[in-house]
């Protein structure tokens, strides 16, 4: 499958993520949109990794070119998992204090 399809898909996912994060006020949806962007990038990393490996394998069967891209995906997933737990904890605390998950109430952190 040509790499362009992956890129279009990732672009679409990333754009959905950005637009969602910018336009929605519900913290949980914003949060999900951010995850969506993460995964768009992850998908792109994996796609390019595979592409490079395939290109290198033609001349050298034992090549490991592009495997660092997959490595990064794991890193990102681990970090994202940690980030999700912290973020959800913040949202829970926000809800306890304001009885709302509206993103605009976050400015109350100021005081």
């Amino acid at each position: 499958m040509p790499i362009q399809y992956y890129i279009y898909l990732c672009l679409a996912l990333f754009s959905i993520g950005i637009i969602g994060a910018l336009t929605r006020r519900n913290v949980i949806i914003v949060f999900m949109c951010i995850e969506l962007m993460f995964n768009a990038v992850n998908l792109l990393l994996v796609a390019f990794s595979k592409m490079h490996l395939a290109a290198a394998s033609i001349s050298d069967k034992a090549s490991t070119v592009g495997s660092d891209g997959q490595l990064f995906v794991f890193f990102i997933m681990v970090v994202a998992a940690a980030e999700v737990s912290v973020g959800l904890a913040i949202i829970v605390m926000l809800f306890r204090n304001t009885h709302s998950v509206d993103i605009n109430f976050l400015n109350r952190l100021k005081n």
Partner: protein, 641 residues
């Protein structure tokens, strides 16, 4: 003995430091003793140095290197030769008498101001000694600036009176204009010859092109114009009367105004090589001599008359320098120092007795109240008028004879000035000492002769005014009697070798001499007769009289042409440039930062959505810039490779 010459300026400097720093704790008598004693000590050392020079000749004493950079060494050196020792004797000798006189004249001052006064006076003498002792133009310039500063400080001594402060500022600014010329001349010399030391400059003078030498001498002369009060920079000297009277005596006789004469006499070879400048010097001097004399005729302030008389006499000295009579000019400096110091101190004595009344119309008949002042003043008047055998006769005659040999027009104009001098001096004398007293009864009741600290200097100076001229008796009277000329001959040797000599017939010379003296005597008798029975009149003077009373409106002219335009420009800078441009820029920066901060604060709204939006936009911008950067660099590389 010449090795001790550094002591001469050192004593007044010490006196300045002690009196200046201790003015609040020392008693007045101690201040007076220190102030006068240091000058007396300098005078004694000067005498020793004088006899040493007479016996052993000239020497240059280098103390240390003042400026030493690649290719230019300016040593802090003292030149001890015939010219400088003569000036040393005048400065310290007359200076000492003036200091002594001041102890009595200034005794009404508070101790603190009394100390300040003597500190300034000592500093003044120190600067002047440095000026004449320096062995190069740079050291001379230090003294040159020093006397300018001290004149400012002393003219504005009574600083609570704003008019006096204006007079002091005027003196300083006028001097600064001249100093600039002097400084440029020194730079020019150093640029062309790589040295400012007299002996080197004078021996290499042939290397200078005629343009260079004319420009240098003209610039030096501008310096002399400022310091020695010549047209057009003379107006500060009459205003300098704002200072205490002994200060006027010091400025006019011993220090300051003779600096210009000294400088040109010192650089005589330069001027002899530049005939153009020399004629300029002669013409400016002559013009000043006559111009100031006309003003003096109509002045009614005793010190103003004397001030314009000084300007006029300085004009004669410059005339002498201009016609190549260097000895005559120096001779006139010496005799003038005696009789002008005497005149000012005598005037001070009168003012002291009259309780600070200076208007001669309100004096008169002081002869019987102040016998010593009267006699000494009369002798000084005779000396300045040029009656033989008083000192002024010999020196003025020498200058006028040299002028006659050079150009008869100089002589006749100079003689006219001399007649006016005789007239205004005896007008002053008659109004002050003859006739009846015209002041108030109370003033008359308090009239008294001055204390001995004031009369002793008067008597000494009177003796000097009478006999001072005998060091320069012309060839006409006795062969080889002009001891001053022989003494100064080494200084002016190279100039006399170049200059062409004019000699008058002996009979001719006698004729001019007797004729001019007779004219002067007639003028004196006329002046005494017209003003002996003077009664104050209320009617306004007319025509030329008004112009003369207003000093030819020169101050008004300067105000209109220079001062007011400068004030206007300064006002523009103060009210517009300062207020709107500079303040505007400074305040504008502050206001801009404040405004920018207020606008930036809006970004910090606390709305997470906004932050996100900004973040995304920023990323987009960065990415665009990044890619464009790469393409720009790429195309640039394409273009140049």
């Amino acid at each position: 003995m010449s090795k001790l010459v550094y002591l001469i300026p050192l004593f007044p400097l010490l006196g300045f430091l002690i009196n200046g720093l201790g003015r609040k704790s020392l008693s007045k008598s101690l201040i007076g003793i220190i102030g006068s004693g240091t000058i007396l000590a300098s005078f004694i050392v000067s005498l020793l140095v004088f006899f040493d020079v007479k016996a052993n000749g000239v020497s240059v004493i280098t103390l240390f290197n003042f400026i030493s950079i690649k290719g230019l060494i300016i040593p802090f050196a003292f030149q001890v030769d015939q010219l400088s020792v003569l000036f040393l004797l005048i400065i310290t000798g007359v200076g000492f008498l003036i200091h002594l006189y001041s102890t009595a004249y200034m005794h009404e001052e508070e101790p603190q101001h009394f100390g300040r006064y003597f500190a300034y006076l000592n500093l003044f003498v120190f600067s002047m000694l440095l000026l004449v002792l320096g062995a190069n133009y740079v050291i001379m310039f230090i003294g040159w600036e020093g006397v300018g500063l001290c004149s400012y400080l002393l003219i504005g001594f009574w600083f609570k009176n704003n008019n006096y402060n204006y007079a002091a500022k005027k003196a300083f600014v006028m001097n600064r204009i001249g100093d600039l010329g002097f400084l440029l001349a020194v730079f020019w010399l150093i640029f062309k010859l790589g040295t400012a030391t007299y002996s080197d400059v004078f021996s290499q003078v042939a290397q200078l092109s005629s343009f260079d030498i004319t420009a240098i001498t003209a610039l030096l002369f501008i310096g002399a114009m400022g310091k020695s009060a010549q047209i057009p920079l003379y107006t500060w000297l009459p205003d300098a009367m704002a200072g205490p009277t002994p200060v006027s005596a010091l400025i006019h006789a011993a220090t300051m105004v003779t600096a210009g004469i000294y400088m040109i006499a010192r650089s005589n070879i330069l001027y002899t090589m530049a005939p153009g400048t020399q004629s300029l010097v002669a013409m400016v001097g002559l013009a000043t001599a006559i111009f100031a004399a006309t003003i003096a005729i109509k002045q009614n302030d005793i010190k103003k008359v004397l001030a314009y008389s000084t300007v006029s006499q300085l004009g004669y000295m410059f005339l002498g320098l201009g016609v190549g009579a260097y000895t005559g000019a120096v001779f006139h400096v010496i005799t003038h120092a005696f009789f002008k110091a005497l005149l000012f101190l005598g005037a001070g004595s009168v003012i002291h007795a009259m309780h600070h009344e200076q208007d001669i119309r309100k004096m008169g008949g002081l002869k019987k109240y102040m016998p010593i002042t009267h006699i000494t003043f009369l002798l000084a008047c005779l000396a300045i008028a040029g009656i033989p055998p008083f000192s002024g006769f010999f020196s003025k005659d020498e200058i006028l004879m040299a002028a006659l040999a050079k150009n008869p027009i100089y002589y006749y104009l100079g003689l006219g000035g001399a007649l006016m001098t005789a007239f205004y001096m005896f007008r002053l004398y008659s109004l002050t000492f003859l006739g009846g007293f015209r002041g108030t009864n109370e003033q008359e009741h308090h009239l008294h002769e001055s204390p001995s600290a004031m009369t002793i200097p008067l008597i000494v100076l009177a003796i000097l005014s009478v006999i001072g001229g005998w060091v320069g008796i012309p060839e006409l009277f006795a062969k080889d009697a002009h001891s001053l000329e022989h003494f100064l001959a080494p200084i002016f040797a190279s100039s006399t070798a170049i200059a062409d000599k004019h000699h008058l017939e002996t009979s001719q010379e006698w004729m001019y001499l007797i004729g001019s003296t007779a004219l002067i005597v007639v003028v004196i008798i006329y002046a005494i007769n017209s003003y002996k029975k003077y009664q104050p009149i209320t009617e306004e003077s007319t025509g030329l009289g008004v112009i003369l009373e207003n000093k030819w409106y020169v101050d008004e002219l300067y105000d209109a042409v220079i001062v007011n335009p400068l004030n206007a420009v300064a006002g523009f800078f103060k009210n517009f440039v300062e207020k709107y441009v500079i303040d505007g820029a400074v305040n504008g920066v502050g206001r801009l930062v404040g405004y920018g901060s207020r606008q930036l604060r809006l970004l910090q709204s606390g709305q997470v959505g906004n932050y996100l939006l900004i973040m995304v936009l920023a990323i987009v911008v960065f990415v665009l810039v990044w890619f464009n950067d790469i393409t720009i660099v790429y195309y640039l590389n394409r273009l140049f490779n």
